[in-house]
Subunit: 388 residues, 2 copies
Amino acid sequence: MAPESSANTPSTTENRGNIAAASGRRASITVELAERSYPIEIGTGITGELADVLRQEVGDLSHALVIADESIQTHWADPIIECLSSIDNVRVNNTNVPSGETTKSVEHLSRLWDWLLSSGADRRSVLFAIGGGVVGDLAGFAAASFTRGIRFVQIPTTLLAMVDSSVGGKTGINLSGGKNMVGAFWQPELVWIDTACLQTMGERDYLSGLAEVVKYGVIEDAEFFDWLCKNAASLLARDHAALQHAVTRSCQSKARVVRDDERETSGRRAILNYGHTFAHAIEATAGYGAILHGEAVSIGMQMAASLAIDMGLCDESLLTRQTELLTACGLPVQFADADADKMLPVMMRDKKVAHGKLRFILPTDIGNVQLVGDVDPAQVRSAIQAHR
Amino acid sequence: MAPESSANTPSTTENRGNIAAASGRRASITVELAERSYPIEIGTGITGELADVLRQEVGDLSHALVIADESIQTHWADPIIECLSSIDNVRVNNTNVPSGETTKSVEHLSRLWDWLLSSGADRRSVLFAIGGGVVGDLAGFAAASFTRGIRFVQIPTTLLAMVDSSVGGKTGINLSGGKNMVGAFWQPELVWIDTACLQTMGERDYLSGLAEVVKYGVIEDAEFFDWLCKNAASLLARDHAALQHAVTRSCQSKARVVRDDERETSGRRAILNYGHTFAHAIEATAGYGAILHGEAVSIGMQMAASLAIDMGLCDESLLTRQTELLTACGLPVQFADADADKMLPVMMRDKKVAHGKLRFILPTDIGNVQLVGDVDPAQVRSAIQAHR
Ligand SMILES: NC(=O)c1ccc[n+]([C@@H]2O[C@H](COP(=O)([O-])OP(=O)(O)OC[C@H]3O[C@@H](n4cnc5c(N)ncnc54)[C@H](O)[C@@H]3O)[C@@H](O)[C@H]2O)c1
Ligand SMILES: NC(=O)c1ccc[n+]([C@@H]2O[C@H](COP(=O)([O-])OP(=O)(O)OC[C@H]3O[C@@H](n4cnc5c(N)ncnc54)[C@H](O)[C@@H]3O)[C@@H](O)[C@H]2O)c1
Ligand SMILES: [Zn+2]
Ligand SMILES: [Zn+2]
């Protein structure tokens, strides 16, 4: 459902199945999921175009419920609210949630449910989630469950949320005993990405998001990997054109994977976990907060590459090239505190462990990965030790 | 997905598209929802047959999580647990929730989520909800949301749950500000109905469930309405054969409606609300607990019939026949405390009110209803006053 005016004008450099240039500057990607299909619109400084796109993509809009991360309310939510309020006959309600992972809790979910009810939300209302992955996941699940599901729009403001969490319909919260244990698959009506938001991000959070961008190159887009190698400096400088390309290409990757395996049933979606089994073990053993998710993913991809080489799945050059790119992106490629004795037990409890057997997404060459089951723990141990 | 051995042996009296006799005594109905289709198995004293049916219908079962209403644990949950525990390689966990509507809360949902996590539930686990609509709705939503959805089995133990809440996939909880405001459409793998459970029900709760049974006759099964008129006394006596027929026929009605409108998008599912706009207003104005849901539905159907007559949609005989049947079922057909001045404002706030216009499901003759929009409040007032 790309805007009609542009569906037939694919941009020359970025056309790979599901992408078209939506306007002079805006790119439009469709997440193809039959009656649940939706567009991802990507541009810089595009708030002025939102009202038109909402009319085309969301249709009936009389009540907008805006949930924003409190730290970006003034900078990035207020202009959106102003735009929504300027649309004829649209009633707008707004609330905030605190920044940080602890906001993805039952308590904040419950508070949002009550707020939706007291705001007079019903099945025709549309929820807008503005912020990083925390707000998208929490508000997305509130949308999935309020009156058994209302429509919602993702407006991601962090790099990780733009290239990963806002696309694909995974929503949810944490329980005190485990991350992302509760939630729903609930697709948005629209993902609205204004890369201008990235200019206010802290450096470490920003770089952390780049790890997921690099991931797409390794798992399924070799051409993009090459582009990243040439343009890492522009990305570090947060150059608008570079960001537009990198976010677009990443969303395109994610959209393809999600299209092929919306609910994680065929196994295809698992390729997005490249580096993540190691990363989760690093995050868990480093103590929460000591290392950012993207940093752990960067190191985890290095460990996965080493494991793949050790198992004869790919050659050394893959690790060399990945190391160069991650380093050029300002990401860590080793972790002095990595402790195999602590990480292995965590990995054995991971959701991706079937019947006690370690499974990994491992690269065969740049742009290709495969799921490898029953991996020898001794080899996993060596892979960890290769990057400390 | 009816058991293979029986799919081709429809019983002679009960075959109407989606029903077949599953065994000598057990009836089997399929809720036809493409890849989400599931059977409803109905019989008396059939716990001994559950293990076989689970093997056929649920397949991979290694971890069963049983959530039961505490008041029926000993009588009706323990035998099920014993059966589950006797299946090879099945691990069983069990917890209780208190009886009563207040259990459908965020607090109990949160407790169940934590319990699922601490019990080691994962995507391959299967949840069993044993009890009335309260347990089915609450545990069903826990199943819908835990790790974004695990399989579950409905084992309803009240008449209302057997003929209504356990079939159709509506799950959810109440917020302090409103009933059923949060939830999911999440279909079970199997609905297992042992009508023997009805023998321990309190008289008032049991009769209340009969109102929904009568409802199916009026909204879409005239033949069943006639059968009910002839067999009301047997139902009052809780005769096994009569119950088997009445529950089967009701589930068949519900299954047809749900098949045609799984997520309440086409409008067809709204016919299940016959009598309910009045009923909700009666329940709200009578003060919670003063009147049972089914009692209010009985009176609400009477008001709806009067409204239909007043609007020239059906003739007087419909009301006469409905009154006779409801009375024969021991249900109230009028409500001295009905107060139109209080009920009308509640009805205007009902979810079924579109743009401030009163809409009702009204009968045209026994077995047929239609959605009527923009009803004159003065006529609604007369309909209320006709039954006080
Ligand atoms: N749903 C999915 O598919 C999926 C995928 C990956 C990750 N996630 C989830 O995403 C979450 C992480 O997302 P995140 O990294 O965006 O975290 P986040 O939402 O906590 O944002 C990180 C920080 O950036 C701040 N921030 C947001 N936008 C900003 C901006 N434009 N300028 C300055 N600061 C800004 C936030 O206040 C926060 O402090 C995790 O909870 C993770 O589980 C979900
Ligand atoms: N999901 C749906 O489609 C749907 C449809 C209709 C109603 N509902 C919901 O169902 C709920 C009402 O269901 P209900 O009437 O079953 O209420 P309930 O679950 O509260 O059960 C009524 C009473 O009967 C007791 N009980 C249960 N089984 C018994 C047995 N075999 N013997 C003796 N006592 C027994 C319970 O402890 C309770 O006290 C409401 O919350 C309503 O919102 C849901
Ligand atoms: Zn990640
Ligand atoms: Zn009802």
